[in-house]
């Protein structure tokens, strides 16, 4: 197997007829080996997820019985959606899904606006301190969120906020147990700003110079020239920020104790009390995985090129 793995791509396109013959038979064997190894690897990457989806349809006793046979991967026996109904009885799934969707949409959406504006300012406008700010932003890329997570709990607990109390808007402190604490800290993103700035700098400045002469403001240039020309950059940033937002775990675990504000990943905890009902657990994990999987399969080309872009630029 390893033999073909290290083989660099592409068989010869132009060579002498004699060599062509030897190459093509070697090429066929190589192809077969490639397909065999890719198929084995596919099994390795897919079997846990197939097991998860299939198990979500079976009663607990049957899951445990099937584990010892290929039936673990087949929707056979007593198939039903009972586990899914069980999940809805046990936890407010609808609320969790709503919370996650709200947090994800707002984080990604506001992030696109805020970060593209910053990228525009850094790539187009000439202002004092621009270089320093750009350097600072690049420097912040190496701060792993985990290192500031705990001090940040302390910090957001002291931030001012507005609360409605008995119909009156009041001024209070502490962001714990709110939606904003799950959204606002993640809107601005150094990497997104960097990607936008990179992309915008590939748009010819002659376009906005012409608009400047016609008296357009910088904001008009951003909205009328830069944004319409930057579809791929917006798609890339949306995709790269979508997954982390949906998958948030450590942060909401620490700052949201109220059940009705929790996102889907944290909701997982409700299933590990006393004896675990694995069928329901598998139903819940399937339920929160499927939407993302579908989005990915529909937009897989865009996903792959976004990830690729993040690497080439980095």
């Amino acid at each position: 197997m390893t033999g073909t793995l290290e083989r660099p791509r592409r068989t010869a396109s132009r060579s002498t007829p004699a060599r062509e013959r030897t190459r093509s038979s070697e090429g066929r064997n190589g192809r077969i080996l490639t397909y065999v190894s890719m198929s084995i690897l596919s099994v390795f990457f897919l079997f846990p997820l197939v097991f998860m989806f299939v198990s979500s349809l079976k009663p607990d006793a049957q899951i445990l019985r099937d584990i010892n046979s290929p039936a673990a991967f087949l929707p056979t026996g007593d198939i039903s959606l009972d586990n899914y109904f069980g999940v809805f009885d046990r936890v407010p799934v609808g609320q969790f899904l709503f919370n996650s969707i709200l947090v994800t949409v707002l984080t990604v959406g506001l992030g696109l606006i805020v970060n593209s504006l910053a990228g525009f300012a850094l790539s187009r406008l000439r202002w004092k301190g621009r270089v320093v700010v750009l350097a600072l932003i690049i420097a912040t890329l190496i701060v792993p969120f985990e290192t500031i997570a705990v001090p940040m709990v302390y910090w957001v607990n002291q931030l001012p906020t507005l609360v409605m109390e008995g119909g009156v808007l009041k001024y209070d402190f502490g962001w714990l147990n709110t939606y904003q604490v799950q959204i606002v800290p993640f809107i601005a993103n150094a990497f997104s700003i960097f990607l936008f700035a990179q992309y915008f700098s590939t748009i010819p400045p002659s376009l906005d110079e012409a608009a400047r002469i016609d008296g357009a403001s910088w904001f008009t240039i951003y909205r009328r020239i830069i944004v319409p020309l930057s579809g791929p950059a917006f798609a890339t940033v949306a995709i790269l920020t979508f997954l982390p937002a949906w998958n948030q775990y450590l942060w909401p675990l620490m700052v949201v104790q109220k059940e009705n504000l929790r996102p889907v990943m944290v909701g997982m905890q409700y299933f590990f009390q006393l004896n675990t009902a694995w069928g329901e657990v598998m139903a819940y994990t399937s339920l929160i995985t499927l939407p993302v999987l579908i989005v990915f399969l529909v937009f897989q080309r865009a996903f792959v090129s976004s990830i690729a872009a993040s690497g080439v630029k980095g």
């Binding site: 997820l49 910053a118 700010v133 190496i142 001090p151 809107i187 997982m268 929160i288 990830i307 690729a308």
Partner: protein, 280 residues
């Protein structure tokens, strides 16, 4: 136009970093009637001299990264080379290898926790494949296997991401270089060693640094699967910081651990940059 992002970065990145730095020299608690008191370097001394779990966690984190970084980078490259061939169906396999990446690590951890049970799917498969010759372990409840078990699923989940990064790197190498190499009669291995690998240098640096930073930040898998156990064999630096700062409310001490972690990440990333620099 810079203002909204600038303000947000200041509030939720710069301030917390400075706060972590300041708090680490105090005895601050998450919720406490008493104001924090300056305690000098006490927290740092405590980490190295009076907290064996911290040292164990640092060692575990380092071991985890030591295995995950080369294996995940290497496997990612192999996958990328496989799916970069001009063959029918490679797009399909690319998608398949990438599917675990879009599956949340929380979900992945729960799923593998179920599969790792002593009477679970993994042991049943080991039993079947070896015709009963090998018996699996109680993977997550055995201090000698728990970290290894977490390593396997972590690589399974993330390797598709780096396959894509490598693939992007491979595709920047001009086809003419390969043609020229073949004209000179270079073997497949020579083409890899002298065309592919040098062309992948920038990609390699990026892949190494990103995997390292992600690996050193190991948290979710531990929190969901083992809570640092058994016998602290899977506790990591971030997990320990969260346990101290959040569960036990000792935020000053947790900030000190976070600061040590940050410095370690920075130093390791810089060493990698230096080791992989262009040598000329």
């Amino acid at each position: 136009m810079m203002a909204p992002a600038g303000l947000l970065l200041l509030l939720f990145l710069i301030v917390p970093v400075l706060l972590a730095f300041t708090l680490s020299f105090t005895n601050a608690r998450l919720i406490s009637p008493n104001p924090p008191r300056f305690v000098g370097l006490d927290n740092f001394f405590r980490a190295f001299t009076a907290d064996p779990v911290f040292l164990q966690s640092a060692l575990n984190t380092f071991l985890f990264a030591l295995v995950v970084v080369p294996v995940q980078a290497g496997l990612g490259l192999l996958l990328a080379i496989l799916v970069n061939q001009r063959l029918r169906g490679t797009t399909f396999f690319r998608v398949v290898f990438f599917i675990p990446v879009v599956t949340s690590i929380v979900v992945v951890s729960i799923l593998w926790r179920f599969m790792y049970q002593s009477d679970g799917l993994i042991n049943s498969m080991i039993d079947t494949v070896t015709f009963g010759a090998l018996k699996g372990a109680d993977w997550l409840n055995d201090p000698t296997t728990a970290l290894g078990a977490i390593i396997v699923l972590s690589i399974w989940q993330a390797v598709g991401f780096h396959m894509i990064i490598w693939l992007a790197g491979l595709q920047t190498i001009p086809e003419e270089l390969y043609e020229a190499a073949r004209m000179d009669g270079a073997s497949r291995w020579h083409q890899f060693a002298h065309v592919t690998w040098p062309g992948l240098r920038p990609t390699m640096v990026f892949v190494l640094v990103t995997i390292t930073i992600a690996a050193l930040g190991l948290f979710v898998q531990v929190d969901v699967m083992t809570q640092g156990g058994p016998l602290n064999s899977t506790s990591t630096v971030v997990y320990h910081a969260v346990r101290k700062g959040y569960e036990q409310q000792e935020i000053g001490y947790a900030a000190a651990i976070s600061l040590l972690f940050f410095v370690a990440v920075l130093v390791i990333a810089l060493i990698q940059r230096w080791l992989t620099r262009e040598k000329n």
